[in-house]
Every structure is written in structure tokens, then in C-alpha cells.
């Protein structure tokens, strides 16, 4: 064995794996210091949490008193650039689909037939069939095609 050449090979064997380990450790250290790189950060309201499908965050916002029936600003990277203002209920259709909509419904946040109908139409517009089936168990709701989504889209237009 040639010592210098073995050292070179040792570095070749170690360096990539060490770099990978350091990358993971640096990421973990940054996260422990309160900043998560390579992410959009924590959702800033209940609609963002619902839109991102982060159900546990939705529960945290609900316990803190946030209202998912209210309209909240949603960053364009969460759902889409055309949906930047939505209620938590609407956002849940994109992010959490039927289970999250059901969870919010069980907690009494779908308070009237009009809201239920709007949500069902929105779900139909975006092809969330599981949500449509949950909200309209008797059959698909009668909606003007695109009308449910148009409400959210219009609300999201810059004023």
C-alpha cells in the first residue's frame, strides 16, 4: 500500500458521504434555530394551512380561534396564483380534500345550505369528486359550470 495514494483514495471515499452528512446537519441546525430552508415556511393562517393540506396546522389554528369560514389571504405558491384569497373551507377542497372538509363540517363550520352548495359547486369545478360526493350525497349539485371557482377567482383579483 502506498500511503499518499491511499490517503487520496481515502478522501475520495469519504468526501461525498461527509458532504451529504454535513448538508443534513446544517439543514437540521437551521431548522432548530427557527428557519426551515427550502420550504414556504409555516402557514400564516387557517386558509393557508387548509390549502397546503397541513391538517394538523388547521387544528392548531382552530384551537387558537381562527375562523375557517372567513376569507383569508393565501400566498400564490400554496394553491395557485389565481387563488390568493379564500376561506379555510374553500382552501380545504384543494388541500385536504374530503377528509379535511368532513373534519371542518363535523366541527360545525359549514353552517348553512348556501355554503354547502357553494363548496360542492367549487369542488365540482376543480374535479374534487370525493368532496362533491360528501357534500351532495344525493347526487351532483346543480351548478353553473365554473361559477363556484369564478367566485374565488374574482375575489383573488388585485383590487
Amino acid at each position: 500500500m502506498s500511503e499518499p495514494r491511499a490517503n487520496v483514495l481515502g478522501v475520495m471515499a469519504a468526501a461525498p458521504a461527509v458532504l451529504a452528512t454535513v448538508a443534513v446537519l446544517v439543514f437540521a441546525a437551521q431548522e432548530l434555530s427557527g428557519r426551515t430552508p427550502l420550504s414556504y415556511g409555516r402557514p400564516i393562517n387557517v386558509a393557508e394551512a387548509a390549502g397546503a393540506g397541513e391538517v394538523s396546522e388547521v387544528l392548531r389554528f382552530l384551537r387558537a380561534g381562527w375562523d375557517p369560514t372567513q376569507v383569508w389571504p393565501v400566498r400564490p405558491e400554496i394553491i395557485s396564483s389565481t387563488v390568493t384569497r379564500a376561506t379555510g373551507l374553500e382552501a380545504a377542497i384543494w388541500g385536504g380534500r374530503q377528509p379535511l372538509v368532513e373534519l371542518l363540517d363535523r366541527r360545525g363550520f359549514i353552517r348553512d345550505a348556501e355554503t354547502r352548495h357553494h363548496l360542492a359547486c367549487l369542488a365540482k369545478d376543480i374535479g374534487a369528486d370525493d368532496v362533491v360526493a360528501y357534500l351532495s350525497p344525493a347526487g351532483a349539485p346543480s351548478c353553473d359550470p365554473g361559477a363556484g371557482f369564478a367566485v374565488v377567482k374574482a375575489r383573488s383579483q388585485p383590487q
Binding site: 491511499a6 483514495l9 469519504a14 458521504a17 426551515t36 415556511g41 391538517v55 396546522e57
Partner: protein, 439 residues
């Protein structure tokens, strides 16, 4: 701590007395795992309701001790020894068989406990002869075998190490190991009549898909031998090439469909290259082995070969990545040993050094990539588990497992509090770069 496979285990383990719990487990059908339940109960009692801290702490401690034993077994004395440690550790955590030992809790991941027992067994077997090693080895085998079935591999390790010239255990100590393994089978199949899980009890990967329980029974119920042969063959392939996984040739299917991802290619490439290095080691050492002259490195690789063979056979009825985890950790050890040997041999000439540099960089980069993928996967699992806890009431209703006791309800509330409010999920990772790690 996930809801399925964990919550109900914890509720069940905390009922009655510890001795009653362990005693009852000797009379189950299909499985003989009394110490698995005993361990859950002991940690649950010690936690005094601080389940998250204790079970998570236990999990972390297991991983730390395992890593420490890995380094200890490699006997790092020189620079070249230290150079292969990062590669070995990356292979340890990056191999797909390891994933199931860190991303799930039942609420203790006893597959990981068995890995600790296996490394501890190797450490005992490869040390200097002492009478207490015989005693510790016997206790270790009894504990491991009665925790999870793969714990029997502890006995294989002691015998393989002894056959490869290691004398940490005496001849009597090894004879006790053989007697204990034989005694286990008598206890399980003759005295207690526990038997083994039936063919129709689990869905199983086969070819490009998964056969459900009924399909397995319909296809192989009359003659299960082809099914067993398939499981053994694919377990071997999975260990040495990371494909198939869980009996399913998903990477092959993706390649055929032109949909293979970067991580698919890296997984198979790193494993094939690593296996080639181990095979080269075996080839260069064949004459010494045939003459029964073993170095400490040879002994580690011999243990790997024996554990791999026994572990693969154990998968005859049901192949699953995590069941192969004992063979997987010795694969990582054997790879580090082979890399060390490769460096020593390749550094003899300048030409060989140049070629070996490329091989080692590819190997180390591949396993480093897999280690990062494992970290991302673990993080993702943490978020998935929190979604489970958000819907826990719904899940309990659907599975008809809603606790009927105050203690059971308190455990559900406590664990949900921990998962959602006390230790919330980290922000979800985002960006196109994640495509590079998409399985």
C-alpha cells in the same frame, strides 16, 4: 408514533400487569413476541404519561447506540479506517431495508431493537475470550428471539463468527447458542403450538404488483413452494441490488415505462456497485478463507454472508424490506470493510489509483445521496403521522377500536396533544429539487 400499529399496541400493553401481559403472549397464535410487549410496557410505565419524550428518546437512543456499535465493529485505528466510516454510515441509513426501522414506531421499533442485538452479538463474538460473554450471548439470544422472530439471527451471528475463527465465545457458549435456537423451535411449535402466520394472512408483493390475501391463497394455497422460492429469490435481489422492494419490481416497471426517477437509478446503482465491491473482496480473499485463515475484516464479512443467507431464508413466507434489516446493517459493514480493502489494494499503482478514485467517488456519492433521501423520507413520514393524528377519531371509529376505558381515552388524548400541539409538524419542504428524491 403513528396511529396504526402503535396506538392500539400502547393501549393494550398498558392494561393489566406486566407479568400477565408477557405471560399471555406465550399463548398467541402465529407470533411469539412476549418481550416486544414487555418492552413497550416497561417504557410506558417509566414514562408516567410522557409518552412522546420517552418513546422518542428510546428511538433516538437506539439509533445512536447502533451507530456507535457500527463504528466499534469497524475497529478504526488508521486514517484509511476512518475514511470508510462516513461511507459505511451512509450505507447503514441509506439502505432501503433500514427505512422501516426508523420511520415507524409500534410504539417501540423492535426491528431496530433486533438490529442492536445483532451488532451487540457481533461485538461479543469478535472480542477477547471471557466467560461472561457466553452468559451475555445466551441472554441476548433469548431476549432477541422472544422479541421478534428475526432475533434468531443473533444465534446465526455467534455461530458464523465462531466458524470464522472468532473466539469471543467459548465452544460451550456456541453450543448453548445452538441448543437455544433448537429449544426455541421446540417451544414454539411443539410445546406452545404457536405455529407460524398462514399464507393467507398478509398481502404480498409479487412481480409488478401486490397480491391481496385472497389472491395469494388462491394462487399458491395448494402448492406454496413457488411462492416461497419467489420470496427467497427476490429477498436476495433486494439486498444486493435494492430492487425489487417488498417483492415488487417497481423500478424495473418504471424503467420499462420510461418513468424512472433519479433516486431509482441511484438506489440500484449504489447497491450494485457496493455489492460488486463486496464480491471483489470475497474473490480476493477466497484462498485464505478456504485455508480457514480469517482476519478480523474477514470475520465481519463472513458474518454478513451468514446473516444474509439466514435472513433471506426467513423471508420465505413474507418478504418485506424491514425484515431484511439485519442483513442490511451487515451489508453496510461489509461494504465499509470491502472499501477499506479496495483502497489498500488500489493504492499500489498510480493507474489503479486513478480508476479506484472514480469508483469510490461514485460509490460514496451514491450512498450519500441515499442518506439524504432517507432524511427527507423520515421528515415526510413525520408529517404523514401528524395527519393520522388529526383524523384519529375517524380512524378509531372506522376500525372499531375506540377505547372503552378512561385510561385508553387518556392515552389517545395525550398522544394527539403531543403530535399536533406540543410537537407540531415542521414546515413542508417545497421546490422542484424534491423531484430528485421522488421515489
Amino acid at each position: 408514533m403513528q396511529v396504526s400499529d402503535s396506538l392500539n399496541n400502547l393501549i393494550e400493553a398498558t392494561q393489566g400487569s406486566l407479568t400477565g401481559l408477557v405471560h399471555n403472549q406465550f399463548f398467541q397464535r402465529g407470533y411469539l413476541r412476549p418481550f416486544l410487549w414487555g418492552l413497550i410496557r416497561v417504557v410506558a410505565d417509566l414514562s408516567q404519561g410522557h409518552y412522546f419524550e420517552w418513546f422518542r428518546g428510546w428511538h433516538v437512543a437506539q439509533v445512536v447506540v447502533l451507530s456507535g456499535l457500527f463504528v466499534a465493529l469497524l475497529r478504526v485505528r488508521r486514517a484509511v479506517d476512518a475514511a470508510v466510516v462516513p461511507l459505511g454510515l451512509a450505507a447503514l441509513v441509506g439502505l432501503h431495508t433500514f427505512s422501516g426501522t426508523i420511520r415507524e414506531a409500534f410504539p417501540i421499533n423492535t426491528f431496530m431493537t433486533i438490529l442492536l442485538c445483532c451488532f451487540a452479538a457481533a461485538w461479543l463474538a469478535l472480542g477477547t475470550p471471557r466467560w461472561w460473554r457466553d452468559v451475555a450471548a445466551a441472554l441476548l439470544l433469548v431476549f432477541a428471539a422472544l422479541t421478534v422472530e428475526t432475533g434468531l439471527l443473533v444465534g446465526v451471528i455467534f455461530v458464523a463468527a465462531w466458524l470464522a475463527g472468532a473466539r469471543g465465545l467459548s465452544r460451550t457458549g456456541v453450543a448453548v447458542q445452538v441448543a437455544l435456537v433448537a429449544g426455541y423451535f421446540v417451544l414454539r411449535f411443539v410445546v406452545l403450538g404457536v405455529g407460524a402466520p398462514g399464507l393467507e394472512e398478509r398481502a404480498s408483493g409479487f412481480g409488478f404488483g401486490v397480491l391481496d390475501r385472497d389472491q395469494v391463497a388462491a394462487r399458491f394455497g395448494a402448492n406454496p413452494l413457488p411462492f416461497y422460492a419467489y420470496n427467497v429469490a427476490v429477498s436476495l435481489l433486494s439486498l444486493v441490488a435494492s430492487e425489487p422492494s417488498g417483492g415488487v419490481f417497481s423500478v424495473t416497471q418504471r424503467v420499462l415505462a420510461g418513468e424512472a426517477t433519479a433516486i431509482n437509478v441511484v438506489n440500484v446503482g449504489a447497491s450494485v456497485l457496493g455489492t460488486a465491491l463486496i464480491a471483489a473482496y470475497l474473490w480476493t480473499r477466497r484462498r485464505e478463507w478456504l485455508a480457514r485463515r480469517f482476519t478480523p475484516d474477514d470475520q465481519l464479512v463472513a458474518i454478513f454472508v451468514a446473516v444474509a443467507a439466514a435472513n433471506i431464508v426467513m423471508c420465505y413466507a413474507y418478504t418485506k424490506d424491514v425484515i431484511l434489516s439485519p442483513a442490511g446493517i451487515f451489508y453496510a459493514l461489509a461494504l465499509a470493510v470491502a472499501a477499506r480493502h479496495f483502497i489498500e489494494r488500489a493504492s499500489m499503482t498510480a493507474g489503479r489509483t486513478a480508476v479506484a478514485s472514480v469508483v469510490l467517488v461514485l460509490l460514496s456519492a451514491g450512498w450519500g445521496y441515499r442518506a439524504i433521501a432517507a432524511a427527507i423520507d423520515l421528515r415526510h413520514a413525520g408529517n404523514v403521522v401528524r395527519v393520522e393524528w388529526a383524523y384519529v377519531d375517524r380512524w378509531l371509529e372506522r376500525e372499531h377500536l375506540t377505547p372503552t376505558t378512561d385510561e385508553g381515552r387518556a392515552i389517545v388524548r395525550q398522544l394527539q396533544e403531543d403530535a399536533i400541539w406540543n410537537h407540531p409538524a415542521r414546515p413542508t419542504l417545497a421546490g422542484d429539487w424534491l423531484d430528485w428524491f421522488e421515489q
